[in-house]
């Protein structure tokens, strides 16, 4: 009887368990969950804040399914190390669990600079974070969002939709600087501002101080001051991989091959903790998105149970709705260096913006704003154009 240990308990872990059970009904599966409850969809947290979704609809599975899958879930603990020679996972409380194969699906934690501010501060990654944000907003507190990435934008929109006041403080020159080009970013920024969201670019939060009336005031790097009762850091996510030998990791994740195996036999990685081959960049990247986590979890699970399935490669892509304005981008959409190699095809109209990116005649990126219904077809074109000849 094979022993499987799954570290983490979110979508990659859950899909892996389902995949293992589709092949191996007997094996002993242990899941190590840091959180004390059933896995829920972290992507829905901003929708939860906006009031679009009920808590009960956020769970990814049910106690019945866990029972049916025959999994032993250890709640409220983390792995601190993996002993390769004795093939054991070491938990926080010193307990060891033997394994034949182990999956690291521990996800990531938000980057936070909470030491530098003396007011409530948080990332947005757990339901507790979300509840804290709702509580502060409900009591009339002013929320400052540090970072203009996807989570920051979604959070600002969610708070706006729920009728609260939010202000974004973004270090770089424009919003969504990692995924959107200047034109799209400007359109999104103007759209958000027209809905009443205050966006400051090119500045950072220096410190938070108290004024004479006891109000918290954030001082920005350009000297401006703004009221602030809470700072939410949306400055990206670092993979939780402290338990893995550093030689198997890149700066942004555990490097995996096409079978989702790390550079140690029997150890697999999937989801936000894994570095996989990105097909348009042709390099290892950590692409922390939901559909990739699902696919990687399934491939890892099938291979752990003895299969030999190949992962088709990650494609960096995002979709979001910005207060009525849909936005989808995939592949290379914001190339900084090596611009010369790329050709662009741009269709720009009043309410829609579309940009296709080609490299040597092959489509490597697409950005759609306003009208996004072409996205699915464009994705299959990009995948087809960037297939590896093996």
């Amino acid at each position: 009887m094979k022993k499987y240990v799954i570290l983490g308990n979110s979508i990659a872990a859950l899909t892996a368990v389902r995949a293992i059970r589709s092949m191996d009904k007997e094996g002993q599966v242990t899941v190590v969950s840091a959180e004390n409850h059933l896995p829920y969809s972290k992507v829905l947290l901003t929708h939860y804040i906006a009031g679009h979704v009920k808590v009960n609809n956020m769970y990814l599975t049910s106690p019945e399914e866990i029972k049916r899958l025959g999994v032993n879930v250890i709640y409220g603990t983390k792995a601190v190390g993996i002993n390769i020679s004795t093939r054991e996972v070491i938990l926080e409380n010193g307990r060891c669990i033997a394994f034949d194969s182990v999956l690291a699906a521990t996800g990531g934690s938000p980057v936070s600079e909470s030491d530098s501010v003396n007011c409530i501060s948080t990332g947005l990654r757990t339901i507790e974070d979300a509840n804290l944000i709702i509580k502060t907003a409900n009591s009339g507190g002013k929320i400052l969002i540090a970072g203009g990435g996807l989570v920051g934008v979604k959070l600002a929109c969610a708070l706006n939709e729920a009728g609260y006041n939010a202000e974004m403080v973004i270090k770089s020159g424009h919003i969504l600087s990692k995924v959107a080009d200047d034109e799209a970013a400007l359109r999104i920024q103007l759209h958000m501002q027209s809905k009443g969201i205050c966006i400051r670019t090119g500045v950072d939060i220096e410190r938070v101080e108290e004024d004479d009336h006891g109000r918290k005031i954030a001082v920005l790097s350009d000297g401006q001051k703004t009221e602030c009762d809470m700072v939410v850091y949306c400055k990206g996510v670092r993979p939780n991989m402290h338990f893995i030998d550093k030689s198997a990791c890149d700066r942004d994740g555990i490097i995996t091959n096409k079978f989702m195996m790390a550079q140690m036999p029997g150890i697999y990685a999937a989801g936000d903790v894994a570095c996989t081959m990105e097909i348009t960049e042709n390099a290892y990247h950590n692409i922390s998105i939901w559909p990739n986590a699902v696919e990687q979890g399934r491939i890892a699970g099938l291979n752990m149970a003895g299969g030999k399935y190949e992962y088709r490669g990650s494609l960096s892509r995002n979709s979001l709705e910005i207060l009525g304005l849909p936005f989808i981008r995939m592949g290379i959409t914001n190339a900084k260096g090596a611009q010369k190699e790329l050709d662009y095809e741009i269709e720009s109209e009043n309410n829609t913006y579309k940009k296709l990116v080609y490299r040597k005649g092959k489509m490597v990126g697409a950005l759609l704003l306003g009208d996004v219904y072409e996205a699915g077809r464009l994705q299959s074109v990009i995948r087809e154009n960037n297939k590896k000849l093996t």
Binding site: V53, W290, V294, I328, Y373, E384
Partner: protein
């Protein structure tokens, strides 16, 4: 299990499929008004004198179900239909980003073909005069391999 095939070169753009789709989904009693008819779940477009038909193929391993962050999309084990729970949908556009067949439209929540589960055959296929949309329900469970061979999945590239 349901297999839908589309041959766009046969489509004349007559719109019968969309009309019967809308009618059959608006047949509840006491609700008979043209204005109350729901939007069709098969989407016709014509561009550069070419007609395109966008409809869900009810894939064996649907990429949209993988991508749905709200757990709103599911595969019905009995009928093989890819269904949607519109209560759960949050309108995040992930399914639009994934589906190579362009089978989704989003207003407040996503809408897609429901496979006309209470009919012997999806009505769009039954009424298409040119045979541009054809559908087949096969009895019992077919092996994944066989079904994949039968369904038109050439540019879907879904996971296994």
């Amino acid at each position: 299990m349901l297999t839908i095939k589309v041959d766009e070169s046969k489509c004349t753009g007559c719109g019968k499929c969309a009309a019967v789709c809308s009618l059959s989904h608006g047949m509840e009693k006491g609700k008979r008004s043209i204005d109350l008819l729901p939007k069709p779940l098969v989407f016709l477009e014509s561009r550069d004198q070419k007609n395109s038909i966008s409809i869900c193929r009810h894939c064996e391993s649907p990429v949209c179900v993988n991508a749905c962050v709200a757990n709103a999309l599911y595969i019905d084990d009995n009928t093989g239909v890819v269904g949607i729970d519109r209560e759960k949908c949050v309108g995040c556009w992930s399914c639009v980003m994934e589906c190579p067949f362009n089978a989704f439209r989003i207003s407040t929540s996503a809408a897609k073909c429901d496979g006309c589960s209470d009919w012997d055959k999806p009505l769009c296929a039954s009424f298409c005069p040119e045979g541009a949309i054809t559908a087949e329900r096969s009895p019992g469970r077919m092996s994944a391999f066989k079904r994949r061979k039968r369904a038109v999945l050439s540019n879907c590239g879904g996971t296994r």
